[in-house]
Symmetry: D2
Amino acid sequence: MSHNTFGHLFRVTTWGESHGPAIGCVVDGCPPMIPLTEADLQPWLDQRKPGGSRFVTQRKESDTARILSGVFDDGDGPVTTGTPISILIENEDQRSKDYGEIARAYRPGHADYAYQAKYGVRDHRGGGRSSARETASRVAAGALARKVLGDGIRIRAGVVQIGPHRIAPDQIDFDAVHTNPLFAASAEVVGDWEAYLDSIRKAGSSVGAVVALEVTGVPAGWGAPLYGKLDSELAAALMSINAAKGVEIGAGFEAAELTGEQNADEMRLDLNKQPVFLSNKAGGVLGGISTGQPVTARVAFKPTSSILTLRQTITRDGEETDLRTKGRHDPCVALRAVPVVEAMTACVLADAHLRHRAQVG
Amino acid sequence: MSHNTFGHLFRVTTWGESHGPAIGCVVDGCPPMIPLTEADLQPWLDQRKPGGSRFVTQRKESDTARILSGVFDDGDGPVTTGTPISILIENEDQRSKDYGEIARAYRPGHADYAYQAKYGVRDHRGGGRSSARETASRVAAGALARKVLGDGIRIRAGVVQIGPHRIAPDQIDFDAVHTNPLFAASAEVVGDWEAYLDSIRKAGSSVGAVVALEVTGVPAGWGAPLYGKLDSELAAALMSINAAKGVEIGAGFEAAELTGEQNADEMRLDLNKQPVFLSNKAGGVLGGISTGQPVTARVAFKPTSSILTLRQTITRDGEETDLRTKGRHDPCVALRAVPVVEAMTACVLADAHLRHRAQVG
Amino acid sequence: MSHNTFGHLFRVTTWGESHGPAIGCVVDGCPPMIPLTEADLQPWLDQRKPGGSRFVTQRKESDTARILSGVFDDGDGPVTTGTPISILIENEDQRSKDYGEIARAYRPGHADYAYQAKYGVRDHRGGGRSSARETASRVAAGALARKVLGDGIRIRAGVVQIGPHRIAPDQIDFDAVHTNPLFAASAEVVGDWEAYLDSIRKAGSSVGAVVALEVTGVPAGWGAPLYGKLDSELAAALMSINAAKGVEIGAGFEAAELTGEQNADEMRLDLNKQPVFLSNKAGGVLGGISTGQPVTARVAFKPTSSILTLRQTITRDGEETDLRTKGRHDPCVALRAVPVVEAMTACVLADAHLRHRAQVG
Amino acid sequence: MSHNTFGHLFRVTTWGESHGPAIGCVVDGCPPMIPLTEADLQPWLDQRKPGGSRFVTQRKESDTARILSGVFDDGDGPVTTGTPISILIENEDQRSKDYGEIARAYRPGHADYAYQAKYGVRDHRGGGRSSARETASRVAAGALARKVLGDGIRIRAGVVQIGPHRIAPDQIDFDAVHTNPLFAASAEVVGDWEAYLDSIRKAGSSVGAVVALEVTGVPAGWGAPLYGKLDSELAAALMSINAAKGVEIGAGFEAAELTGEQNADEMRLDLNKQPVFLSNKAGGVLGGISTGQPVTARVAFKPTSSILTLRQTITRDGEETDLRTKGRHDPCVALRAVPVVEAMTACVLADAHLRHRAQVG
C-alpha cells in the first residue's frame, strides 16, 4: 500500500487536486465479468456531491464519472475485464479567485502548514490534495466495491450525533438517512438538527459529528491475523477520511467500562442449528476475523476548519497574521462523509473478500 | 503489508503461537550501523512480561529475546547490518493441560469461533495465534524501532481509565506509569484502582480500560496523503492490538461536540520565530501529516474475555454448552497493553521516518 | 506491487486499452520540488510513438501527454508537489474495424487465448490491454523517473541484433541510436539492416531482435538483498515489456562459459585512490547491489506475432480456423521497445534510489 | 515486497547469515489444512545441502529444518493452520577462522565491496547474508509451495551446460538429474562432465553453467498483466538466486533470430476438442499469462567467484592487495542451484495460484 493507494488486492489509487482539471482513481484487481456502466457509479456520487442543500458547500459540481478503461461490451452489455478501471471526474467549478490569501497564510485546522512543512510546496487552491473533494474518487471506487460484494452485503451509515445532539442507540434508523438533508439516522431529530445547524451556518461557524455504520451479510471468516485484522483495516480506512478523529468497532470506548460478563457475546444455536450470538459488543469481529454478525463501527469527525471567524495564524514567510476563511464551505463536513464512510467500508470488505478467497478458496 | 507483517519500509513480520515451542519476529529494512544487543530489547520485554504482579496472568515466562541475525560486531561492538534481524523468544510455560475443554467449545469473546470459521482448524492451546503472547514480538520490534528513532522522540503511554474510574485529562502524569503495577498515569489513583481491580480479580471477572499515548519530538512532515496518513497508520497499528476496540487521535470523539472555533488550533510564533500552536485538538496531525506538536491518541480495550463465570456457548460439533474459562488470565488485559501501545507507535513512527526520508530526503 | 503497478516507492500504475478512449498512468511517491511540465515528457514519447518510419506501425497517434495532477506553479514555474501525478494520453486512431475477425479467433503468439482463459472476457480490439500501446504510459513514467535521477545518471539503449544480424560488442555505439530509424547502436549496419527489414516487411513477416542497455553514473550501494536485488528488479522490469523473452545482466549467458579467473572483475585504485574495476563482467551489480560500474543488460524480443501469413488457430467457440492478421503492425516490435527499455530502467533506478535513501539516509 | 520478502500472497521472508547461529524463513499466507511435517521439507533440503560429492563445498551441514509455528495436530496429523510458518535451520559448521583475511580485502566477484559501500558494515564471515547458504531457506519454502500446488504440477530443473559443454535441446532428460552428482539433465554427459569439472576443481578454478527448467501441469490463466506477468515474476525470482546472470523464457534469446512464422505457436484442437499448441516457443506464457503449455525457462549462472588463484583487489582501508580465496567452495555453484531454481519456481507458482484464485475465484 503506497501513499495514495488503498487495498491489497482490490486496490484503489486516487489522484487529483481540488482545483486542478480533474480528479480520479484507478481500481486494479477487480474481478472480471461484473456488469458495469457509469450509471452504476452515479447514484453514489450524487449522494456525496456538493450543492444539494443549504447544509453543504455551494460549490457546483456535477461529479460526472467517466470510465476510461477496464470495461468491455462483448455483446451482452459492458462488463469488467479484470484489467484496471480508470475513472475520471472533471472539476467544473474551481473559482480559484476565492483562495488568494491562503497562498500565504496557513488556515488553522487545515493541512496547509503540514503539507508545506513536508514538501516545501503545496497547491493551496481549495486545499489542493487535502481537499474533501478527493472523496468523490473514494465514492466511485466504493460503488465498484459494492458490485464486487454483491447484494447480499448491505452497508449503511448515518449521522447519529451532531455537536451536542445525539440519537439514542435504540433510536437509530438507517432507513431514515436518505430521507433528510442531514443524513440523520432518525427522522425525528431532523427538525431540531436543522434549526441547530442553521444557527451554526449563519454564525459562520461549524460543528463536528459522529457517523455510525452497520454492515449486514458479511460471512464469518473474513479478515486475518494479525496486521490484516478486519477491524484494523477498517480503522485505517475510516481514519483516512478527511476530518476523522476517532474510530470505534462494536462497543468501542464503552467497552472500557464493561466487565467480561457484559462484554463477551454468548452463543447459542438457532432453529437451523446455526450459531447465533446473543449480543454484539464485538461489532462482528473477533480476533480480527468476521463472525457473521453485523459489522458495526462509529467514526468521529471534527468540525469544518474553514470558518468565518477571524483566527490567529502565521504565514509561510514567518509572520503572524489573522485569517478569516472565506469561500464556500460545509457547516458540518461530516454530513457528506456518510457516503464516504460507506464507500471506504465497501473497499475494505471487497479486499477482505478477495484475500480470504485467495487463502482459503 | 501481508497478514502477519506490519510496516512498509521498517517491516515487522511476527510468527508463533501461545503454546508452540517459540514465538518471534523478523524485522527487515532497519537502517545499518545502529548499536544493538539483546540487552537493548530486554527492558521493554520485561515491562510486558507476565507474572509481574497479582494483576496480570501468573504464567511464568522470562521472555528472553535472542537475536539470530542482522547484527555484527566488527570490533566496535554489535551493530545492525541492514539485513533482516530475526528475534526468537522461547515459550517456557505452556501448560497445555489447562486448555483441554476449549478444544471443543468456543470461548465467548475470544477468536476461537472466527478462526475455526475461517481456516477450518485452529491451534486452541492458549488461543494459539490470537493469544496476547504474540505481543511480546511487537514489543521486541518496538524496542528496535525506538533505536531507529533515537532519543529525541519520546513515546509514553499509560492507563487513564479502568472500568468506570478515570483520570482527569489535566491529572495525567506519564512519569507515574512505571511506578505502579497498574501502569496508571497518576500516582493518586493507584490505591483506589488496586482495590477495585482486586475485587474484579477475586470475582473471577475482568474489566476494560483506556490507554492514553503521547509522543513528543516528532518533527513536522511525517506521514503522507491519503492512505498513508500518519493517523490512519496509527489507528491501524493500535486497533491491531489484542482487545482494542477504539482509537482516537487528539480530541477524538470529543471533536464531534466542538465548534470550528474551539477545534482549529491557532498558530503564533515563539521567541525564536518558530511556529507554535495555541492548542492541540489535532493531536499533532493535520491532513495526515505531523505538525511538530505532540502526537496524542487514546485506545479503548475490552475486558479480558476469559472469566470464571459460566457462559453460554456452542461447540464446533454444533452443540450448545456452558463454559467457564479456567487457567491463568489477566483481570484487565489493557494493563499489559501499555508497552504494546508504545511499541506499535514506535514501529509506525520508524516506518514514517524512513518513508519521509525516501521521498523528501 | 499489484498487477498493474510497478515499483515500491516510486510507483507507477498504468491503465488503458489499445482502442479505449485513452491510456495513462498515475505516478505516486515522486519527490517534490522537481520542475515538470508536459514538455519534459513529450520528447521521450515522440521516440516511441508510431508512424515515424516505414519500419513501425502506421497507426497515427500524436501521443500527447496531459498532466492532470501533482504539479503546481507557485510562481517559479510548475514543480512536482509530492502528490500523485496523473498522466493521460488520448487514443486518436483506433480504427476498430480492422479487428473484427479476431473477436472470434485467437491470434497465434498473442495474448488473446491466455486473457480469455483467465478472465472469460477480453477486449480484443487491437489486443486491448496487452497491446504495446500501453508502453506509452511506461515511457511517460520513465521520463519522470529520469528527472528524479538527475543528469548524472545516463540511460541508453539500442538495437544490437536484428534476426541473424549482430553488432559486435566492441562496435556498439549508443550515440548512433537516434541517428537512424532502426534504433541501431551502430551507424555502419543501418544500410544492411534497412534492406533486410524491408524484405521482412514486404513479405508480411516479422523478426526478433536484441536490445542492449548501458547506464552510467549509478553510485555504488543501490539495490538490496535478497529479493530486492537491483538485477532481479531490472529483470522483472525488462521481462514485463511486451514481447520480451530473455534478460541478461553483464556477461549474462556468456558467464556460463567462463572460469572464475575470467569472470570475477579485479579491483585496483585509480589516481584519486578511488576503487576501479579492471573489467565489468558483473554488469555493475554484485550481490544485487550496484558497484558504481556501468549497469549493463541485454533484452531479447520475439518477432511481432501479427503477420500476414495464414496461420492455424482456433476460435473461442472451439473450432479450428486459419487466420491472417491484417491491420497496421511493426515488422520488428523491438525497435520501438528501445525507449521502453530505457524507461523501465529509469523507473527501477528511481525506485532503488528512494529505497536506498530510506534505509541508509 | 520488501528486500528480504518474496511473493505477494504466498510470502516468504528469509533471514540469517552464513556464520550466524541459524538461518530461516517465515512463510505467511499459506492456505490452511495442508498436511505438513518436517519430513516434507527434508528431502528437498537434502538435495541442496553441501558435502554430498567432491563437486560441491565440503562444509558439513545437516540442514535440519525445524518448524516452529503455523502447524497443528488436531488428531488427524499436523496440518497448516493458515498462520505464519516459521522454519529454522541451525548453522553447524561455521569455521570462521577460514575467513580472517577477507574481513579486510574485498573478494573480486563477491558482494563484499557492494555491501560495504551500501551499509558501511558487513558480516564478512562466509559472505554473511550474501552467502549461498541462504538458499536453504528458499528450498524449505519451495517445499511448502509444492504442497500448495499439489501433485498435478511437476517442477523439474537440471544442468544443461557447464562451461563449454552443452546438452543438445533434444537430448535433455530431466529424469536423469538426480541420478548423477552434477545434476546433469542427461546421463550420457556425466562421465565427460565429471572429468572436466575435476580438472577445474584441481586447478582451484571454477566454471559457470546453465540450468534448464520445465514445469508441467500449470493451468491456463495464471499470471496477470502487466507488472505481475508470470514470466516477469519468474525472471525476478530466478535472477534473485546467487550467481544468476541471465534468464530466458521459452525460446529466449533464440527468439531474436526467428521470424513471426517460426515463433508464433499455432493452435489446433485435440481429440477431446481441447486447445493444443503445435510448438512452444512461448515457454507456456503469452501476455504474461500461462497458456496451459509447459512453462520453460533457462538460467545462466556465473562461475563461483571464490578461486585459489591470486587476484588483484583492494582493502576497505583503501589499499591495493592480492587475494587468494581459501576455504571450502563449489567449483560450479550452479550445481546446487538446481533445487533452488525449482524452489523459487514453486514459490512463484503458488503465489500466482493464490492471486488468480483471489481475482477470478
